[in-house]
Symmetry: C2
Subunit: 207 residues, 2 copies
DNA sequence: CGTAAGTGACTAACTAGTCAGTTACTTCAC
DNA sequence: GTGAAGTAACTGACTAGTTAGTCACTTACG
């Protein structure tokens, strides 16, 4: 029997990731996590403090994982979006955890995520200034749209399939996302100066 | 005291919508719904059958509402996306209900949603054949991307604000979405598509 | 007075969290 | 080496509070 607390922590974390991803915070059961990990329930309280703090740990680890797996590249946004989509399809847990967190804890964005977002925005703004990314939209808005495109067909959307998609379909979707991001972000030579505020023609869709 | 069962049903449904939108299925409390509606808990079981079936009723009603509020227009996709975003910002409940449903009941897409999606795809495919929408991507994939763009900054995403956004910020986001959708869907003359592509993008995103 | 609408009290099952006690591993005197 | 002592890891049993769902009964209305 393993008596190393690091191994125990890791085992509980793995079981908790599975449980939280599937059922969310309110739906997760501490007993189920302990049973799946093969440890006594009390260890969860000893090692993590409680259900909520266990979720914190799980989510934090998941965020760190995706930040490593899909590094941001302001000079290749289509590639970045494609990598993001591919990672989400291959690791559905992370997107589910993110969605649960957004729904069950409105406004509770982890520090890690916030910082990473700011760094991405800054890098994107730089790329826009250099003329390598279209500058019609400000960096923060553009980034949100790119990430949104990369989240198509992922868990938590109505278009997500319960089971894995065929490889061919996945490739087609990845290409679709890459195409969409390219059209959204490729610099447009004919458009002139990037500073001009030429948004949606300033019309009034609704009055 | 109202003794009309239709009024009772509506009252319970309204309270349940609020509760389910906020807490999801697992997190919702039947007692809370009954108390908020001002009726005895047992009426929920009499009128709806149980917690799960109550959620079904709530979600079905919400879906019908959004289908009415933001009718699909394959010839004005930027306007459609903008209207969708605006509706979601103004009525956050519906997006939250949709996300809860996707997370807590994987693969359980209501018939209404499925049918509406098929109709939209068909209409979009027609618009592509007519050359009024870019045809580089198949209709179903293109539609998913457009809806995804319209879901940026809505509930259930990390970018959603807990409280209402300022009117100016909302307008900027709506225009950003419209711009992105236009770039994604406007017919491109240089693409060498069989159907003669004509200028479809008018100066107004919505009529 | 018959019936549909509504109520209050109840329960069986569950659930997060606690706690006294046990087990295995390390340290160190001899 | 060896065994006593100390300690971190771990366990089983328990509790107090919740929760979905039920049921016998009452109320209002035509």
């Amino acid at each position: 029997m393993a008596r190393d607390s690091r191994i125990t922590r890791a085992g509980i974390l793995a079981a908790a990731t599975e449980e939280f991803a599937r059922h969310g915070i309110a739906g997760a059961r501490v007993d189920r996590i302990a049973a799946a990990a093969g440890y006594n329930k009390n260890l969860i309280y000893v090692h993590f403090g409680g259900k909520d703090q266990l979720f914190d740990a799980v989510y934090e680890a998941a965020v760190r994982e995706i930040l490593e797996a899909a590094p941001f590249d302001a000079y290749d946004l289509p590639g970045y979006a494609a990598a993001l989509l591919e990672f989400h399809i291959g690791h559905p847990h992370l997107m589910r955890l993110s969605r649960w967190n957004a729904l069950e804890r409105p406004g509770a964005v982890p520090q890690t995520v916030r910082e990473a977002g700011e760094a991405k925005t800054a890098a994107l703004a730089r790329a826009q200034e250099e003329g390598r990314v279209d500058a019609a939209l400000p960096a923060d808005r553009l980034l949100a749209l790119v990430v949104s495109l990369a989240s198509t067909w992922t868990e938590g959307t109505p278009d997500a399939e319960p089971e894995g998609v065929a490889a061919a379909a996945l490739a087609a979707r990845r290409d679709a996302v890459a195409t969409a991001v390219r059209r959204l972000t490729a610099p447009r030579a004919d458009r002139g100066h990037p500073a001009g505020p030429r948004l949606a023609a300033g019309s009034h869709p609704r009055d």
